[in-house]
């Protein structure tokens, strides 16, 4: 177990390192200079800026510098937004909002998805099952921006139940973004739960439980779900990544001042240090979450011998 965790952590660190490296060289491959734009400052100023950020150094020196700074948690400064605003501050200020929305979205998606999946599997072939399957198949075919805009148009604005402007102090502002963001994972989780639930409902021990005279509720949620939940857990990692990137769209649609909206803005602004810093941060976040899910997986089901598999 310990060996496995150490191996996975090392692997994750290497992945983060690889992403940082790729990001660095990709950004260096962008033609032009970040300080040159329509209203270019005089050449002397550009030279001074280049010297300040080490852009006049050879590439390997810049790389070493960047990596060194990265280890210290310094992700550089924005070149387009407010002057010299550190990227790490942008992340610190905006990530909590994104994380809150993402966590609520994943939370409700998991709870509702698992329950719907169980219901669907238990009533296999009945109208309830068919309806749920249709809804879920449609749900995973609908890009998140469609869902977000539908909700925005139908339920936001004056005279409608939810405010048009995002206000972090009321819970009402969170309802629609979380609903839009969680819908896709919910459908996905429901489908996966249904599949693995069907498997475990066919097992012998369910027959035993039934023969003992246990109630439906206990059989489904206590006996069958325990085994059915494990495969579902493996899909949680990719869903976290999906929710994170889906957040870009949802935050843009609902004008939420989260990290995703900043990221999208910095892409259209060509604010490379922000793109770079945010990418590395978000990628590391996803990788660490995946790692946690993987280790949890092992904790939940001791039958799985991960050291052999991975």
């Amino acid at each position: 177990m310990a060996k496995y965790i150490v191996k996975r952590v090392l692997m994750a660190l290497f992945t983060i390192f690889a992403i940082a490296t790729v990001t660095f060289f990709l950004m260096k491959a962008v033609p032009g200079n970040p300080f040159v734009s329509e209203k270019s400052p005089p050449q002397s100023v550009i030279d001074a800026l280049n010297a300040k950020y080490g852009l006049d150094q050879p590439l390997h020196v810049q790389y070493k510098m960047y990596m060194g700074n990265l280890l210290k948690g310094d992700l550089g400064v924005s070149v387009k937004m407010s002057k010299n605003y550190p990227v790490i501050n942008i992340i610190k200020n905006n990530f909590p909002t994104s994380a809150k929305i993402g966590a609520i979205a994943i939370g409700w998606a998991l709870i509702v998805g698992v329950i719907l999946g169980c219901v669907s599997a238990y009533y296999r072939g009945k109208p309830a099952d068919s309806t749920l399957r249709v809804v879920c198949t449609v749900g995973i075919s609908m890009p998140s921006f469609v869902m977000a805009n539908l909700l925005l148009l139908a339920l936001c604005g004056s005279g409608k139940p939810f405010p048009a402007m995002f206000d972090p102090s009321t819970w009402k502002s969170f309802v629609l973004p979380c609903a839009a963001l969680g819908f896709y994972p919910m459908c996905y989780i429901a489908r996966q739960t249904r599949t693995s639930m069907l498997d475990s409902l066919n097992q012998e021990y369910i027959k035993t439980a039934r023969a003992k005279g246990l109630g439906t509720w206990k059989i489904v949620f206590k006996h069958a779900l325990r085994n059915a939940f494990i495969p579902v857990l493996t899909y949680l990692g990719p869903q976290i990544a999906f929710t994170l990137t889906g957040g870009f769209v949802v935050e843009t649609v609902f004008s939420i001042p989260g990290l995703g909206r900043y990221f999208v803005q910095s892409i259209s602004n060509r604010d490379y240090p922000v793109i770079m810093g945010t990418t590395i941060f978000l990628a590391s976040f996803v990788i660490i979450m995946n790692l946690v899910v993987d280790i949890l997986y092992k904790v939940v089901d001791p039958r799985i011998n991960l050291a052999k598999e991975g």
Binding site: M11, A12, F14, T15, A18, I19, V22, T23, L26, M27, A29, V30, P31, G32, T137, V138, I140, S141, M142, P143, S144, F145, V146, N149, L152, L153, T195, L198, A241, F242, L244, T245, F248, V249, T252, V253, V264, I267, S268, R270, I275, T279, L282, A283, V286, I287, N290, G310
Partner: protein, 443 residues
């Protein structure tokens, strides 16, 4: 099976024929060619079936998949044949701007205009309103104060004193019914004059471009992006997976470590990044490049190429894992050993023996890549790193529709609906394919 005909002179039969052991019976004519009636015994009474025919038979029984396939065909026709029928081009600016997907007949429009004009003329000018108010006040036997006069004038000027009709009010008042399809007034006049005018079925956008043609082209771009990305994934994934699986040992370990690293990367994030950077690079090169490269950039667009590369560089991982798993199993089979013993080269064994035997899995996985590529393309286009203007895709149409969402919600909903239906059908057909090609996997 038909009843077996036992004939002592069954030609070229490998079955042991008891009578044949009696060498006296083995006359020279035992080896003569079979005549017609004898040959009939060899015609199988069932039409031989192939892997694909078998799969198609299973697929046809799957109602959901067949309906999805039919809808998909309709969408493909819509995207590829539609633009040939509609006489507008997707980038053609016309005077018919901002049309809704419905219209009012010419007479109705005139009636509405007349009502509006009447309302306008019956409205009092500020001076007239003042006169009227003064007269009313005089009749009551009092005089208006200066402030009262000013308010009356201001009210009349704003027009909310009297009937300030909007077009919607007038339409509601007259009870005019909207008719399907968008026509501009000029087009209606031309139509009334006997000219044939093709309607704007989904209206037009703010440049007067026919929205249906734009959706057709958008659907075409999305489909093509999906198919090409899937082919790219197939090529890279199949190569990588088969080499890794077949070689085994150290090569496999190293290759799988690389796969693990790539797999733990959040793809969308990196694809976004790669597309942004490559697009900048290509746009930079575009000004200097000539010949084939230039032609490629001009016809496909730098963004789409950037997207392909980004997609191809990350999405092959799933495909390679599936193929590797299959090959690991298949290479234990006797026929592979036989091929090796006969001196077959590795590349030949992979190509001729291993890959064809996991074709079901390959087809299914490739097919299911298409919707996920379209999904991703729409996401990127929505964020503004998709296809270049004036080319369009369903994602960029949705994104462009956002600016006028409250007034023209149909501009978002029509492409979004086409996109969702397309992805839905592709998913359903893909599921059907999996069940048909690989019945063992059926859940």
């Amino acid at each position: 099976m038909a009843e077996k005909k036992i004939s002592p002179r069954k030609p070229f039969s490998l079955h042991l024929n008891e009578e044949a052991f009696d060498f006296g019976l083995l006359a020279p004519d035992s080896f003569s060619a079979a005549d017609k009636s004898e040959k009939e015994g060899f015609i199988p009474d069932r039409v031989p079936t192939s892997y694909w025919k078998d799969a198609w038979r299973r697929m046809r029984k799957n109602v959901v998949a067949m309906v999805a396939l039919a809808v998909l065909l309709v969408i493909v026709l819509f995207a590829f044949v539609g633009p040939l029928i509609v006489p507008y081009r997707y980038d053609q600016f016309t005077d018919a701007q901002n049309l809704k997907p419905w219209h009012y007949s010419l007479e109705d429009q005139q009636a509405v205009d007349a009502l509006l004009a009447e309302a306008e003329s019956s409205r009092l000018t500020p001076e007239e309103a003042l006169e009227k108010a003064r007269a009313e006040a005089a009749a009551e036997g009092r005089k208006l104060s200066l402030t009262e006069e000013a308010t009356i004038k201001a009210k009349a000027k704003q027009g909310n004193g009297d009937a300030a009709l909007t077009e919607e009010d007038a339409i509601a008042q007259l009870g005019v019914k909207a008719k399907l399809f968008g026509y501009s007034r000029q087009e209606l006049e031309r139509k009334a004059a006997g000219e044939k005018v093709f309607p704007h079925v989904f209206g037009t956008d703010n440049f007067g471009r026919d929205y249906m043609v734009r959706i057709m082209i958008g659907a075409r771009v999305s489909l093509l992006v999906g198919v090409f990305a899937a082919v790219l994934v197939l090529i890279i994934g199949a190569l990588y997976g088969s080499i890794s699986g077949y070689a085994g040992g150290m090569v496999d370990t190293v290759m799988q470590r690389i796969v693990e690293v790539i797999q733990s990367v959040p793809e969308v994030l990196v694809i976004l990044l790669i597309s942004v950077v490559l697009k900048e690079n290509f746009n930079d090169k575009l000004s200097t490049s000539t010949g084939l490269l230039r032609l490629m950039f001009d016809t496909v667009g730098t963004n789409v190429i950037a997207m392909f590369i980004a997609f191809g560089s990350l999405y092959w991982v799933t495909m390679s894992r599936i193929i590797r798993g299959q090959i690991l199993q298949l290479k234990q089979q006797e026929y592979v050993t036989a091929a090796k013993a006969l001196g077959g080269k590795s590349s030949r064994i992979i190509k001729k023996h291993l890959l064809p035997n996991c074709i079901g899995q390959i087809v299914t996985t490739t097919f299911l890549q298409i919707p996920s590529a379209i999904f991703l393309e729409s996401f990127l286009s929505y964020l503004g790193v998709g296809v270049d203007i004036p080319m369009t895709s369903l994602g960029s149409l949705c994104s462009a529709a956002l600016s006028g969402l409250r007034t023209y919600p149909e501009r978002l909903f029509i492409p979004a609906a086409v996109l969702s239906v397309m992805i839905l059908c592709l998913n359903l057909v893909g599921d059907g394919l999996r069940d048909a090609l690989d019945p063992k996997l059926k859940k």
